[in-house]
């Protein structure tokens, strides 16, 4: 039998304290580099949005002449305000509807037991493996007939964002799974119907996930380009910010509207970022919970 020995305690050049300080110093350095890299584009976009001398890309960041010209042009010469309002309306509507869909789906799958529950979950899992965009080809054709594209595209988009949102139940279900089952049972013994259990017991405990779902719903239209671009297609009053602003960076428009894009980007980011940072805690909870639950 070999004898297993404890290693000799090794003595480092630096003391334990000093080596920890060195380690921390390196980490601070890395984090600072990361901060600079991560924030660089955002400083860039803000700076360029205040550039007066040229509307094109110029190869330098610091404007020679500062001014709010781009912002004024944005409101005077373009339909940006309309797009912004469109997207805002979509954001609010999606936040509400999607929350209803997602919560009722996830609550049911998490806390109620019924025949076909497993089957339904497997079915949705398989369904989710198809690229969602594919469905839009047919939906677009039907929406053209229903008049839900072009000028009415925001309405069409709200439907697209919300109708199937029940399939994204995973994160919320993960949350509901963590609430002890005996609370439902106690309430039911106390005389509550399942509906009462839902809104008197579980909902008051679910603030984090409700906020998370609302947040996700609100952000969806602001970030979506793929679906919106497909449904809106041509220039119209129904454009969302993503589709409208995308055009400004095309080869044809770049030389004139590049700084306009920057200014619009800043304006778009303000509401979204502020809402997001305000509710960051809930977002983090959702992301973590969802990942851990799988």
């Amino acid at each position: 039998m070999k004898q297993i020995r404890t290693k000799k305690p090794h003595t480092s050049l630096l003391g334990a304290k000093a080596s920890r300080r060195l380690g921390n110093a390196i980490i601070y350095l890395l984090l600072t580099v990361i901060t600079v890299v991560w924030l660089f584009p955002f400083f860039g976009i803000v700076l360029e949005s205040f550039r007066v001398e040229s509307g094109a890309q110029v190869g330098y960041l610091w404007p020679k002449q500062f001014g709010a010209d781009n912002y004024i042009r944005l409101l005077r010469e373009t339909d940006f305000l309309r797009w912004f309002i469109n997207t805002g309306i979509m954001g609010v509507a999606t936040a509400i509807l999607q929350t209803v869909f997602v919560l009722s789906m996830s609550y049911t799958l998490s806390r109620l037991r019924f025949k076909g529950r497993r089957g339904l979950m497997n079915f949705m899992l398989i369904l989710g493996m198809f690229p969602g965009f594919l469905t839009l080809i047919l939906i677009y054709k039907v929406f053209v007939d229903l008049g839900l594209t072009a000028n009415m595209a925001p309405l069409g988009l709200i439907i697209v964002y919300c109708a199937s949102s029940g399939m994204g139940y995973y994160v919320a279900k993960g949350f509901f799974d963590t609430i002890p089952k005996s609370l439902d049972e106690a309430a039911r013994v106390d005389g509550a119907t399942r509906l009462q259990v839902f809104y008197k017991v579980i909902m008051p405990l679910s603030k984090p996930i409700v906020i998370y779902t609302v947040l996700m719903g609100f952000m969806a239209p602001w970030g979506d380009f793929m679906l919106a671009n497909y449904l809106i297609h041509e220039n119209s009053r129904g454009m969302s910010v993503a589709v409208g602003m995308f055009e400004w960076l095309s080869r044809a428009n770049m030389n004139e509207k590049y700084t306009l894009f920057c200014a619009a980007g800043v304006i778009v980011s303000i509401p979204v970022v502020s809402v997001f940072l305000l509710l960051q805690r809930y977002y983090v909870e959702g992301v973590t919970g969802g990942a851990v639950k799988g």
């Binding site: 049972e185 106690a186 013994v189 509550a192 008197k200 017991v201 405990l205």
Partner: protein
């Protein structure tokens, strides 16, 4: 206040996992019934079927003569205390206790009166405005009981209510439940895995194992006359010593011969053996630890064994010992009955001689493990 009657109740999970079967029980009005058994024996499942939280696969459950199989829990008029308390974290203690009354739209003064009354009894009045998370385990337990109390329900169900508490608190709460029971005069069904709770609380005890009822009886009945080996070993602490041995019928007298000793069966047990005309043969003998006593090597009834562990419990000694062929025994001896000298000699590997009286034995069939005297 009601009777509860279970007839041929059976619970099957999924395709063929049987949790409970052949469950027949009549619970009288205002009786305190305890379901006890090791984990997985089906006791909680049975309780949850009575509560309506689990479907009943077969058989019927009646409360006050009405079959409740298809009734929702809220229509059964029951109250229940859960193992982990299941207090609503977002409601204050008052609102927790008032929850069921609010659902029934009771007027505020009734709610106030009932809740404060219950709080008074449970001594939690000063916490009424707190949220559950600001309470200790014992206080939460009281709130959970209080929540069930305000209901004035027909049946009071308790699912291992004390198992989340530490030992000291558990003893205290157990005593309080006994007091409580005198104040709220209703039918209790209480589930526990702890035989002490079962013995101290129950009017009658239902001992379960693997989904089957093993025995139903008062604490004295199940202690004195366990129907089978399982009940014998389950009830009583430390558990009963059992060993395979021979029962001999010689000259109209019965003897048992464990480990070379020869002990005559006397008293009621002997009469019962004779009554049943039990023949000689291999049996399983059961002797409770407290029925052993020390003796010396010369006693023909002495069993020699070596001490493995000596547990000093204060008022008594629990001696874990090993017989010559390796079987394990537990002997329980009052401390006062021993001289200091003897007590100090009880150390590891010391040989001691023990015996027991003829009237305290239990006899079980070697094959069926049933009590031979029933």
């Amino acid at each position: 206040m009601a009777t509860v009657k279970l007839t041929n109740v059976k619970k099957i999970y999924g395709k063929d996992t049987v949790a409970v079967q052949d469950f027949n029980l009549d619970i009288a009005d205002k009786e305190f019934i305890v379901f006890v058994g090791p984990s997985g024996c089906g006791k909680s499942t049975t309780l949850r079927m009575i509560a309506g939280l689990e479907d009943i696969s077969e058989g019927t459950v009646e409360i006050d003569g009405v079959v409740v199989n298809d009734l929702q829990p809220r229509d059964r008029d029951i109250a229940m205390v859960f193992q982990n308390y299941a207090l609503y974290p977002h409601l204050t203690v008052f609102e927790n206790m008032a929850f069921s009354l609010r659902l029934r739209h009771a007027p505020q003064e009734v709610v106030y009166q009932k809740v404060t009354e219950a709080a008074e009894i449970l001594d939690i009045t000063e916490y009424l405005t707190r949220k559950p998370r600001a309470l200790s385990g014992g206080q939460r337990q009281r709130v959970a009981i209080g929540r069930a109390m305000v209901r004035d329900s027909k049946v009071f169900l308790m699912d291992e209510p004390l198992s989340n508490l530490d030992a000291k608190l558990r003893n205290q709460m157990r005593a309080e439940i006994i007091l409580l029971r005198q104040k709220i005069d209703t039918t209790f069904i209480y589930v526990t895995h702890d035989q002490t709770e079962a013995m101290t609380l129950g009017d009658r005890i239902v001992i379960m194992k693997d989904g089957f009822i093993q025995q139903v009886g008062t604490p004295t009945e199940v202690f004195d006359m366990p129907l089978n080996l399982f009940v014998a070993e389950f009830i009583g602490a430390p558990k009963m010593n059992t060993f395979a041995t021979e029962l001999a019928h010689e000259d109209g007298k019965y003897y048992v011969k464990p480990y070379g000793a020869k002990i005559e069966v006397t008293g009621k047990k002997a009469a019962m053996l004779a009554d049943k005309q039990v023949a000689s043969g291999e049996i399983i003998l059961g002797v409770r630890p407290e029925h052993f006593k020390l003796t010396n090597a010369n006693d023909p009834a002495a069993i020699a064994c070596k001490i493995t562990v000596n547990e000093m419990m204060g008022s008594e000694l629990h001696l874990h010992a090993q017989t010559e062929n390796g079987d394990k025994l537990i002997v329980r001896i009052p401390t006062v009955s021993l001289d200091d000298e003897v007590r100090h000699s009880m150390v590891y590997s010391q040989t001691i001689y023990v015996t027991f009286e003829g009237k305290v034995m239990h006899f079980f069939d070697k094959e069926t493990e049933q009590n031979l005297l029933v």
